[in-house]
Symmetry: C2
Subunit: 200 residues, 2 copies
């Protein structure tokens, strides 16, 4: 009884304090590493989701094409994404973003394997920020044209074309929604990179 | 001689090691604090620049308004930003961003005064990311309409209106350029927040 109390309160060896400190620091480090590993795994899953969204957006837009069933001798009424420069930009931008996301997967895996390495995270943060801007720009510009195609604008005499090209408009709207989803994922990725860098 | 050697090699007091370690840690901490302070000051200056850009964009767009010198009994030919929903969104979004930037200045000052505080930086990182997305969306959508106003689109029968409304188009284009400048500043702010968080 007396002996156990003395060992509990007194610390006779001088090496006991550093050892205790070291193990405490290691424990804190492990806990932080655990958080970081969690962030890195979630980061990887989000990237997979963003790849799906970006590919869906690019391919839906890239295959949007509608010919009307009536045509005359000289002219076939047809709407395709490459008639509108904004939609061309959209396809190129979303394809680039899908490519970047695939290339970023190895760096995300490095973050899972080595939760304390700051290099890959900073690299990903920089490119994610640029991709967020590109993705949002493409999505907003395309959404703008889709809005115009649905509603037209009377002041500038731009007429709505969705009455004629209904399927085209539906496909294009779907692509815009998918690209906004991937933009939201990029926002999460950027904020999570910041949080993970903080914990190091 | 013998004594000095013994003090150099041996460490008789148990408190010597912690003291040396503590001063080394303090020195490293000061160096990191210096970097962080530099980042924080640069952050503050960038925010001031972004406020100017955002206010310029919102006010230029908000005052863009052109009446043509000819009119008939029933109709005055006039173009104004509030005829086009995208430009209304642009004005509101850029005004919101300018307001957010003004509100963010105190947090930036806290980062200068306390370079090691992670809280304000993470708060700024999150809101900067959201603002980057909003700013880019507004800029890209408005740029899209400006392109359409300059060039028109033959497939959809949307005609260019800049031949008639030259001054209107010039003002609107200027606003778009200013908003892209503030979007670039937001990208720098997000990346710098990540770097500053890393150094803590």
């Amino acid at each position: 009884m007396m002996k156990s109390e003395s060992t509990a309160i007194d610390v006779p060896e001088s090496s006991a304090v550093p050892k205790g400190k070291a193990s405490l620091m290691a424990a804190t480090r492990d806990a932080k590493g655990g958080y970081n590993k969690g962030f890195a795994i979630f980061d990887f899953i989000l990237r997979l989701g963003a790849i799906v969204c970006a590919l869906a957006a690019a391919s839906t837009m890239g295959t949007s094409d509608e010919s009307l069933p009536f045509f005359n001798q000289f002219f076939q009424f047809q709407a395709s994404y490459d008639d509108i420069p904004t939609f061309q930009f959209f396809v190129i931008a979303m394809a680039m973003i899908a490519g970047y996301l695939v290339l970023s997967l190895p760096f995300s895996i490095v973050s899972i394997v080595r939760p304390h390495a700051a290099g890959p995270r900073i690299l990903l943060l920089i490119f994610d920020t640029v991709s967020l801007a590109l993705n949002t720009a493409a999505a907003a510009a395309a959404a703008d044209i889709v809005y115009l195609a649905h509603n037209g604008n009377s002041t500038t005499n731009w007429f709505a074309i969705c009455q004629q090209f209904g399927d085209f408009c539906r496909k294009v709207s779907g692509a815009v929604v998918a690209s906004f989803a991937s933009a939201v994922v990029f926002m999460l990725l950027v904020i999570m990179s910041g949080l993970a860098l903080r914990r190091q």
